[in-house]
């Protein structure tokens, strides 16, 4: 308990001794984590939109006249990429047509015999599963035509992949930059107390005891930066949500709720963990060298 109290007191001392550097580190960590959070939120939203569109995407397979859909149903039943499959009879198709035509539904009766073929509606798990599935279906002799939103599908897949790659790259860069900034700040703090630490080691202070204030300092800077970034993101994202809602009301983006809270919690944990790891590395390296007998 005494050690813990000492560590907390010493952490405050360390932060205020180099307050300019602490503020600079805090701002840098906050900026980098803000960029990281912003990219991650963008990527999450792209995924969210894509998954919503994916949910509504249907591949329609039209059979040749007088052909039953059994062979197609049999083939897609085994396919793990297929989420749901449903056969539509000519009668059901006609009912749908009538419903769609509304007031002009009587025109359908003029046709006489039902000209509509059997068809199959297929939904897949992911956008990128559609193209290979269509390629498999068009080869059936009983299949007349396969209709799907080909270009939209391909574009959505490309956007989803690109946003994941970009956010992954930014994530790595942001983590490396913040880690380096925190690591160097802690190193400067350690070197400013080099003499003190060496005396502490000589009189029998444990490495944990010596490390604690620096580790706390790193955690404070990392977590503090994450908090600032979260506050900034909250403001920016709320404005963005309002703007999207008024300009592109059909676009279904993530709003409030559990996902955002969890996201900010994750950002905070990332900042704190990064601060902890960097400072532990810096101080551990120094004490290991200092304790090595000559």
């Amino acid at each position: 308990m005494a050690s813990f109290k000492y560590a907390l007191r010493d952490t405050a001392r360390l932060i205020f001794r180099h307050w300019g550097l602490s503020v600079l580190t805090l701002i840098t960590a906050a900026s980098v984590l803000y960029i990281l959070g912003f990219t991650a939120l963008f990527s999450l939203n792209v995924r969210h939109v894509v998954s919503r569109i994916e949910g509504g995407l249907v591949v329609q397979v039209y059979m040749k006249k007088d052909e039953k859909p059994g062979v197609v149903l049999e083939a897609v039943k085994e396919n793990p990429t297929v989420r749901s499959v449903r056969a539509i009879s000519p009668e059901e198709a006609l009912d749908r047509l009538r419903a769609k035509l509304g007031n002009q539904a009587r025109a359908v009766t003029l046709i006489g015999e039902n000209p509509l073929p059997w068809s199959v509606e297929i939904q897949v798990h992911r956008v990128e599963h559609i193209t290979p599935l269509v390629r498999d279906l068009v080869v059936f002799p009983a299949v007349e035509e396969v209709i799907y939103s080909g270009r939209l599908v391909e574009r959505l897949s490309a956007i989803s992949r690109a946003s994941s790659t970009v956010s992954g790259g930014i994530l790595i860069m942001a983590v490396v930059i913040s880690a380096m900034v925190i690591f160097n700040t802690i190193r400067i703090a350690i070197y400013s107390r080099k003499e003190e630490i060496e005396v502490m080691l000589l009189i029998g202070a444990t490495r944990t005891y010596i490390s604690l204030p620096f580790v706390f300092q790193g955690m404070f800077l990392g977590a503090g930066g994450a908090l600032l970034a979260a506050a900034g993101l909250w403001g920016t994202y709320s404005s963005a949500v309002n703007a999207v809602r008024s300009a592109l009301a059909f676009l279904d983006i993530i709003e409030g709720g559990h996902i955002l809270y969890r996201f900010f919690l994750l950002l905070f944990a990332t900042g704190a963990t990064m601060g902890w790891m960097c400072s532990w590395l810096a101080v551990n390296r120094f004490t290991s060298r200092a304790m090595r007998p000559r």
Binding site: M1, A2, S3, K5, Y6, E195, E196, E198, V199, M200, L201, L202, I203, G204, A205, T206, R207, Y209, I210, S288, M291, P293, R294
Partner: protein, 231 residues
């Protein structure tokens, strides 16, 4: 704790032999002067015992601790039992006398109330009660030396190492320091003092170990500074 050195040699890069084949045995509660010219290996010997250095050859055991085999974690606990007064004091200039002493105890995780009592007690013992809130640069050389002694004795070590504790001090202050060291020894602590101070060695005669060019030249029960040929 007793101290045993068996065939200890210390060579610094590239090939400076600081100590060569030293055998020395110091029993618990003994007071030993370590004398010799500059560069004779006195400081190296003390630093080997405090395990700042590792011998190139040979074994050092303090109590039941083999210093070659001691791990990093155990080293911290070993050092708590060895009080060291450094030649350059190694006081922290931005801390007060009280804080310099208290910080040793705090580093051991001792509760703050006990730290306060013990720090005040040792500061009083070394005669710096009135100066406890001053910082080292505001103190004289002798006073700084006493702070260093207070810090080394704060956690009641079993072994006390002092490197030139009276260097650059006047005779009167040196005698005060000497009496302090003797009182620490009287409490059962093994004391090893590296010194050049001929006056003190002859005035307060104790076991004397002389080093010359890294070799053990003389080991007398109640020796005088200069060898008088009566071994």
């Amino acid at each position: 704790m007793d101290i045993r050195l068996a065939g200890v040699t210390k060579v610094f890069e590239p090939d400076i032999v600081a100590l060569e084949d030293v055998y020395l045995s110091i029993d618990q509660g003994e007071f030993v002067y370590l004398v010799g010219t500059t560069g004779s290996g006195k400081t190296t010997l003390l630093r080997l015992i405090s395990r700042e250095y590792l011998p190139t050859r040979g074994q050092i055991t303090v109590g039941d601790v083999n210093l070659r085999k001691i791990g990093r974690n155990r080293l911290s606990f070993y050092r708590r039992d060895v009080g060291v007064v450094f030649q350059d004091y190694k006081l922290l200039p931005n801390l007060t006398v009280f804080e310099n002493v208290a910080f040793v105890l705090e580093a051991m995780g001792i509760p703050s109330r006990i730290v306060q009592n013990r720090a005040n007690e040792v500061i009083d013992q070394v005669g710096l009660w009135r100066r406890r809130f001053l910082k080292p640069p505001q103190l004289s050389g002798g006073e700084q030396q006493r702070v260093a002694i207070a810090r080394a004795m704060a956690n009641s070590p079993s072994v006390f190492l002092a490197d030139e504790p009276t260097g650059n001090l006047d005779v009167r202050t040196s005698e005060e320091i000497m009496r302090l060291l003797l009182s620490i020894n009287a409490a059962g602590t093994t004391v090893l003092v590296a010194t050049h101070d001929q006056y003190l060695v002859d005035a307060y005669r104790q076991r004397l170990v002389e080093l010359h060019n890294g070799r053990l030249k003389r080991d007398e029960k109640r020796g005088r500074y200069f060898f008088d040929g009566e071994l």
